[in-house]
């Protein structure tokens, strides 16, 4: 008998917890709650749930859940893949320098890459910093020689997310050789890996078209007697 009467009362517990019952209905239900610990604890639980309801905005939850673009998963996978490859290269560098102790090697490798002056065919890579950039924007590049041409790592921060960047290298006669495109996305992973057919030894400058601007930085490669020094030029 008790179970049955509980069932009847229980169906009112939602309205009770939300404060929807009339005074008489509430009085009747509370008399039952006095003697029924199970219903009482259920009422308490629903009341605390009821206190959450004002946090939700019905204008939001009556629309379906928004979904991310289907290609987002792939974008994340390729970002992580790129970072993984970069990490591997970094480790190779550490081994190449032959230092014992990972921390010392890491520091030394980074310093060596950054400090080595330009010039010399044996130079493994070139670091290029772009100057005269808009406030908050930072662009730098690392160029590595290969048999096929030059591998270019672009590091960009501070641009408007989604900005399309077109990269080119400039040869000894001022000719432009395309080096691919990338899109700058906000985040910590700001590296884009590109390549160009122009040999690093013949590369005099690297340029980036970003938005309506073109930024150019000189490359101090072997045999680069004349270097270009203008960092910014008008869009072409």
């Amino acid at each position: 008998m008790k179970a049955e009467s509980c069932r009847d009362w229980r169906l009112s517990l939602g309205a009770y917890a939300l404060g929807h019952l009339s005074v008489e209905e509430r009085a009747g239900l509370e008399a039952h709650l006095e003697g029924c610990p199970e219903c009482r604890s259920e009422a308490e639980s629903l009341k605390s749930l009821g206190r959450l309801l004002p946090l939700a905005d019905p204008a939001r939850f009556t629309h379906p859940t928004p979904k991310p673009a289907p290609e987002l998963g792939e974008r994340i996978a390729s970002t992580i893949g790129a970072e993984k490859r970069r990490e591997k290269r970094r480790r190779r560098w550490q081994i190449g320098f032959g230092f014992a102790g990972a921390a010392a090697a890491a520091t030394a490798a980074v310093l060596a890459v950054l400090v080595l002056p330009g010039g010399g065919a044996s130079e493994p890579s070139q670091n290029v910093a772009f100057a005269s950039l808009p406030p908050g924007v930072d662009i730098s590049a690392t160029l590595q020689p290969h048999a096929y041409g030059t591998e270019i790592h672009m590091y960009v921060t501070g641009m408007r997310s989604g900005t399309l960047c077109r990269v080119f290298l400039r040869g000894p006669h001022g000719e432009r050789v395309p080096a691919g495109t990338f899109r700058y996305r906000w985040g910590d992973d700001n590296e884009a890996v590109l390549s160009s057919a122009l040999d690093l030894s013949r590369t005099r400058a690297i340029g980036v078209h970003a938005g309506s601007k073109t930024f150019v930085a000189a490359v101090q490669s072997a045999g680069a007697a004349e270097t270009e020094n203008h960092n910014q030029e008008d869009a072409t």
Partner: protein
């Protein structure tokens, strides 16, 4: 799952399949811009992958951990956006409510979406719109007692969904 369970790319893909929808939903609610929300989700998974070795399922669920990272990413994005107003062009003003509250609000809204249509309908009509049960009953063509019991079962369903989502009320 073992500690460091998010250190492989495959684990990230699985985590993405399981949790990206929710993370994006919350990012979207907080940032009000689909581009920024996608960036936030991307950044969350990249950070999670980088810190994958530190993830310990003994301490908390992967979902909770990802939400904690997303929370920080949303804060960082909000800061970056206020420092660079051009990024917000065309977007919606950043949410002003505190992030913890935004997270809870989002959870309740998401739970509301997941309960049945009939349950959601009576909760909206009676509670959010404050309409009398008799009126709602007449509109739905059911007895008033049915509206009352749907409110009860609707709340119970909401509780179950919230618990599944990790809410510990």
């Amino acid at each position: 799952m073992t500690p460091g369970a998010l250190s492989r790319e495959r684990d990230v893909r699985e985590a993405y399949a399981a949790h990206s929808g929710e993370l994006y939903g919350f990012a979207m609610r907080s940032l009000g811009d689909s581009g920024l929300a996608e960036e936030a989700v991307q950044e969350t998974f990249v950070r999670a992958w980088r810190a994958g070795e530190r993830f310990d399922p003994q301490i908390g669920s992967l979902r909770t951990w990802l939400f904690a990272i997303l929370r920080n990413v949303v804060i960082d994005l909000g800061r970056a956006r206020s420092a660079r107003p051009s990024v917000a062009e065309g977007g919606v003003e950043p949410s002003v409510e505190p992030l913890e509250e935004a997270l809870l609000s989002w959870q309740v809204e998401e739970a509301m979406r997941r309960i049945g249509d009939e349950h959601r309908r009576v909760l909206v009509e009676t509670h959010y719109l404050g309409r009398p049960y008799s009126e709602v009953a007449a509109e739905l063509g059911v007895p008033e007692g049915t509206v009352k019991s749907r409110v009860y079962y609707g709340l119970r369903a909401l509780r179950v969904v919230l618990e599944e989502m990790g809410y510990e009320g």
